[in-house]
Amino acid sequence: MGIYIQGILLIFASVGLYLILDRFGRPAVRILLSGPLNRFYLQYLQSSTKFEFDAASAADNYDRAWDGIVFQKVYEMGVSGVSYSKRKQHLEYITEYIKAVSKPKLNRKIADELIKVLPKQYRNVDFQKKLACFICELLSNVEHNNHDGKSLPIRPIPSIAIDALTSIISAWIAGIVYLLLSLYVLDKYPPVLAALSNLALFILMVLPLFKLIGSRLAKFTTVSTIASIMVLFLGSFATIAHGRTQLPLIINLTQYENPNSKLLIQYPEWLTMNNTGCNGKKVSIFLQGQLTTPIEFRSDNDYFYFTSKDCLGIIPRLEITQSESQAYEFYVIARDNTPFFSDKKNFTIIPQYILGTIPIDMDPANVIPIQIENWFWNFVNNLSLKIGSLGLLIVLYATNFFINKRMP
């Protein structure tokens, strides 16, 4: 199967997984999270109200602090397990208080808070009707006063949060699956396809987050998400970019008993194997100075063989025994039509001892792996970073639900 088709199928599979999870995962998320979310949210609201109350009291602003008591009662009405008699008392208290203080802004705020915290339905239908009318009255919405009270005119925060969380969890599961699968194939994508697939990943994982936009913190976390995804995007892209670049590497052979000798190595050009015939990548080596001990190149990657320019036969290792400066070149060819993996380009130099009569020294201490010394991209490409970024973002968004009380 062609790489393009594989890539496109992977994208479709991830988007499909997202749609399925988003569609069918909602009830499970609701069952699992609505209770804890509601409790956690109410606890947060109550403690933040208490904090405001204490601050206002400390500033001798008692009347303002007293508003907090109303909100305490509002929030307590949302707590499951509170008796109906207590809820009725609270409703009565709130009604009286509104009459006594007569602040239109406060009415609106109380209605908003009730809408956030109340469950959609109460078992006590009479109480539910009463509450529905009360909310509508607070909102001065005459039309809504005609409702039958079958459900309250509210959409509580846990419900909003569950919808958004389901989408986010689904998107991130699909995204993680995509990332894991793409680890096997991403680097063999041509850059355009890699960029497109990363763009798809970006859209898939960021779009659901916009459901939560509406607060400063939500915007902040969304920007963080975008930034992190862009890092992943650039990281994946950079993997390929390295392979495309002619990256010279100089190895000083002094420590291998070759005084004043240096090797200048040009990495192979990146390109997709066309899977037909011999189409290797040229590696250029230039030897500066003199060799007193021969050196040998061999690939420590099973996917590669060395071959000569005319592609006649496989050369398991390349020995350089020349005693004078000279340019060498050889070709790397992939085994079994396996496409070239740009991140698997470790070649090993094994210095041999004088005269070549001593067997090749396989001591790992004498093996020099040639790697791209670019710590940033190595870091960015690290899988743990990718997974860590996802985890961090999930934590950020979970936090967002509970820290920000001005959700849409």
Partner: protein, 145 residues
Amino acid sequence: MNNRILWIDDDYYAIQGLFRPIEKEGYKIDVALSALDGYRKAQKWQGYDLIVVDLIIPISQEETAPEPVKSWDNQEDYGYVGIGLIKWLLSEIKPDCPIIILSVVPDPITAYGLEELGLAGYIRKSGLLPTNLKSELMGILKKQR
């Protein structure tokens, strides 16, 4: 005047918003969070100038409560625990101590026939602001002097 008030209400969080302005006026507030707590504090009488009672209060967090506290939970007799407590305070402790009902219960004096008790007043908890309550209580305390 001892400048002391006994305040019997289980919602400490709410009432502290109410009594803080009064404390600023130099009054010491003893808070009782249950009927039993109120009962004990009233027995150790500290020369209170005023008693503020909420009608809807729990008997006690403790399993055992002495008589007559247990009997206040009898809704048929009292309607609310606080009514039983007020009756006991007026009959057994200080008949002349002014008592204020501060409750969300609408007009309990008429509803529960408490006129003959001679209460100093009834204030609906939900229909006031702390500064208003302070003015009302200060007015009652002034009359006492």
